[in-house]
């Protein structure tokens, strides 16, 4: 099978781009930001994502989904990235779905159809520190008559404040196998402090104070939970990487258009060879990253034994390429690029947050080196 998109995937790409370009361009994000919208997203848009089927790519057909793969999910995520659309799609329809479709209990049938419809929002409460470190889990889950009692905290959880369900990682004791719990936001004993990041996205620090989680809310996969956690992370890493590719494309398009149009010293600045070479270099970096992301999506869909490695590579290089794209974008725009009024700065801020999300370039390169045995 050739690595490029097949005809159906190309059609989906046209559809997804068309949808987000029309309904949620950068001005949409800017509007939510300037209005200090407490949700940080437009619920109406979320519902329409359900109508369009964008929430359904990874949901099995028997659960009301489309039974497609990470390539398709990534196509949608990329369209979101191009437009900086604030959306819980990554956490919900990629991370949440991969978690819930592995559940052997009622969680699966309870939640997947509601996600498919664009009703339910899922947040992933997997971090406890300021850098990605999903293995460092100190949130404690103690056995209890009805299930488990949670004590501890999670931090920087995107969309938690509007999520219907939180997928929370915990341990029964230090060093124990991680557990995943599907906790509804209204559960007693949960308090959230929601704050804005530089990209205007809202994240929450969540305190669990004797929070009781019933047995039915424990995510029980067929195999071990540690492996499922890795699966979820692979999925959201590759999803975030796809969003970064879209973001890099959006930044590049604006920058290259500016180079073509803007005149200085009587000529278009894009005719300056130094800028041409940097633009061409940037293009190459993004193409490298694009291919790595596509490859990782295929490997995830094929269930390859090497999929974690490909996911690391994809997230590492997509973060790097998008970072270069926004840095060159702001610099090449000159003064106007430094103004809040121009969109390119918004791309820079979003790239920073996405670069951190689910592990930055250094994190994944370090892991890759370890996996490669050095």
């Amino acid at each position: 099978m050739p690595l490029y998109h097949d005809d159906e995937q190309t059609m989906l790409q046209d559809t997804a781009r068309g949808f987000f370009d029309e309904h949620a361009p950068v001005s949409h994000m800017r509007g939510l930001r300037d209005a200090k919208d407490p949700a940080g997203i437009a619920h109406e848009l979320w519902r329409r994502c359900g109508e369009m089927g964008f929430t359904m790519a990874l949901i099995p057909e028997e659960d009301g989904g489309l039974g497609l793969g990470h390539v398709e999910a990534g196509i949608v995520q990329e369209a979101i990235g191009r437009n900086l659309t604030p959306s819980p799609l990554l956490a919900t329809a990629i991370g949440g779905v991969v978690a819930l479709r592995a559940a052997t209990n009622d969680l699966r049938t309870e939640w997947l159809p509601r996600i498919a419809e664009g009703v339910a929002i899922v947040a992933l409460a997997l971090e406890e520190g300021s850098k990605h470190a999903p293995d460092q889990i100190t949130l404690k889950a103690c056995k209890h008559a009805d299930g488990f009692v949670l004590n501890g905290a999670k931090r920087f959880v995107p969309h938690a404040h509007i999520a219907d369900l939180l997928i929370v990682s915990a341990r029964s004791s230090p060093g124990a196998e991680p557990m995943l719990l599907a906790v509804t936001r209204e559960t007693t004993g949960i308090t959230m402090r929601t704050q804005q990041l530089a990209d205007a996205s809202l994240v929450s620090d969540i305190e669990f104070d004797d929070t009781v989680v019933e047995h039915s809310n424990v995510l029980v996969p067929p195999r071990d939970t540690g492996a499922l956690l890795e699966e979820i992370l692979n999925a959201v890493r590759v999803g975030a990487a796809a969003e970064l590719i879209g973001l890099a494309d959006g930044a590049m398009e604006r920058t290259f258009a500016y180079l073509r149009d803007r005149k200085q010293f009587g000529v278009e600045i894009g005719s300056f060879q130094a800028l041409q070479h940097r633009a061409a270099h940037l293009y190459g970096e993004v193409e490298l990253a694009r291919a790595a992301v596509l490859k990782a999506q295929r490997e995830l869909d094929g269930g390859s034994g090497d999929r974690s490695r490909h996911a690391m590579v994809a997230k590492a290089i997509a973060s790097q390429a998008a970072t270069l794209a926004v840095q060159e974008g702001v610099q090449m725009h000159g003064g106007i690029g430094m103004t809040d009024e121009h969109d390119i700065g918004l791309f820079m801020k979003r790239a920073r947050v996405l670069a951190e999300l689910y592990g930055d370039t250094n994190y994944h390169a370090h892991r890759l080196a370890s996996v490669n045995g050095y």
């Binding site: 300021s130 804005q196 990041l197 990209d199």
Partner: protein
């Protein structure tokens, strides 16, 4: 001679020790700068005390002539003062475009009357200046000045618009490039004039930046009357003054602001091995840049520096500072990415975004590289 210098160092050290309040030895942020001016107010008594102590010796401008109120130090003593201030992390007592930019231009191109009128208030921090160079759409092409000054006999009437005017909304006076001869070639019809920002017809509008702050303004001139006596240098030859001043600006930007590029180890408890590697390589560069700044300032003050070397310093220093902030953001992770709340209320992210302007303002990195290539390396023009 060397004994004299040793003695000067000793005295200076002692004087600083007794006169620089401890609070003025703390690391400072942009908000801690004292800019003076008609509306200038001290943030606290320590800042006032420090400013007045330094002013009493003329050390707001240590190497300016004493006749205008400067410190009159020779390059070697000025360097010793800098070193001793740096040793105790003493803050500069006064931040001022008058000191950094206009003053050197006036000392070179101003009439004696202009020097006597303008330099003392600059030294005493009484008048705050801003710079009117850039215009909308001109970008790096600074000589494409469209703001027109119409000759009305004993005065001009100025109409036009400037952009990227630092703190224009807080400045008392502006030094400004205006077109006095619209028929001459681009670089030859420009004059360098000064005027009061309270002159009728002057208005400003702050520009909101990606950092959320607004250090720059758009500045509008609507039939602004400027007396002919406010011309600096030769009529229509303002570009010479501007270029001289730009060289100074670059020197100041590169050497003062960034000579002290700090290591970035502070406050980072756990760092991954790759970030550590990048920090280590950064620290090597930062140390080399400090040496390079020292060498350049020594050469510059002795009149030995290649006139275009400030462009190299500006390029290297600003790119280094941007790299530093990228590393700080990597080290800080989500915490550093906060825009509100958190440990520093968005200060890390804002400083990071602010740093992106370093390689744009005062001549872009691209312009500096062009200058170095042509004027230092003598590479051919197209």
């Amino acid at each position: 001679m060397t004994d004299d210098l040793t003695q000067f160092r000793k005295e200076t050290r002692a004087w600083l020790q007794s006169n620089c309040p401890l609070q003025m030895r703390e690391p400072q942020t942009d908000e801690d700068l004292y800019w003076g001016g008609r509306d200038g107010a001290f943030a606290n008594s320590a800042q006032k005390q420090w400013f007045e102590a330094m002013l009493s010796r003329g050390w707001t401008t240590p190497d300016w002539p004493t006749e205008y109120g400067g410190g009159g130090l020779d390059p070697e003593r000025a360097k010793i003062l800098r070193e001793e201030m740096s040793r105790i992390n003493a803050r500069p007592p006064l931040s001022s475009f008058g000191i950094w930019m206009l003053g050197p231009a006036l000392l070179k191109y101003g009439t004696e009357e202009q020097k006597r009128y303008h330099l003392p208030p600059i030294i005493r921090g009484e008048i705050r200046w801003c710079q009117g160079y850039s215009e909308p759409g001109a970008g790096s092409d600074l000589a494409s000045v469209a703001t027109r000054a119409e000759d009305k006999g004993d005065h001009w009437v100025v109409n036009g618009q400037k952009i990227w005017t630092s703190y224009a909304n807080k400045a008392d006076w502006i030094f400004c490039l205006v077109r006095t001869d619209p028929t001459a070639p681009k670089h030859l019809g420009i004059s360098f004039v000064l005027f009061d920002m309270r002159t009728p017809g002057v208005s400003t509008r702050p520009i909101r930046l990606i950092s959320g702050n607004s250090p720059f303004c758009e500045t509008f001139f609507d039939d602004v009357v400027v007396p002919k006596g406010n011309l600096v240098g030769t009529l229509h030859r303002g570009w010479d003054v501007a270029k001289y001043l730009l060289g100074h600006e670059r020197e100041m930007i590169s050497a003062m602001g960034l000579g002290e590029v700090e290591s970035i180890t502070t406050g980072i408890s756990e760092i991954d091995p790759l970030l550590r590697s990048q920090m280590a390589l950064f620290d090597v560069r930062a140390a080399a840049f400090r040496a390079c700044s020292e060498l350049f300032l020594d050469e510059f003050r002795a009149g030995r520096a290649h006139p275009a070397k400030s462009s190299m310093m500006k390029y290297v220093g600003t790119e280094l500072n941007k790299a530093r902030h990228e590393l700080l953001m990597s080290a800080g992770g989500f915490e550093a990415a906060r825009w509100s709340g958190g440990s520093d209320a968005g200060a890390s992210a804002q400083a990071w975004l602010r740093s992106k302007g370093n390689s744009i303002e005062g001549g872009t990195s691209e312009v500096q590289l062009n200058i170095v290539a042509k004027r230092i390396l003598s590479l051919p023009s197209t």
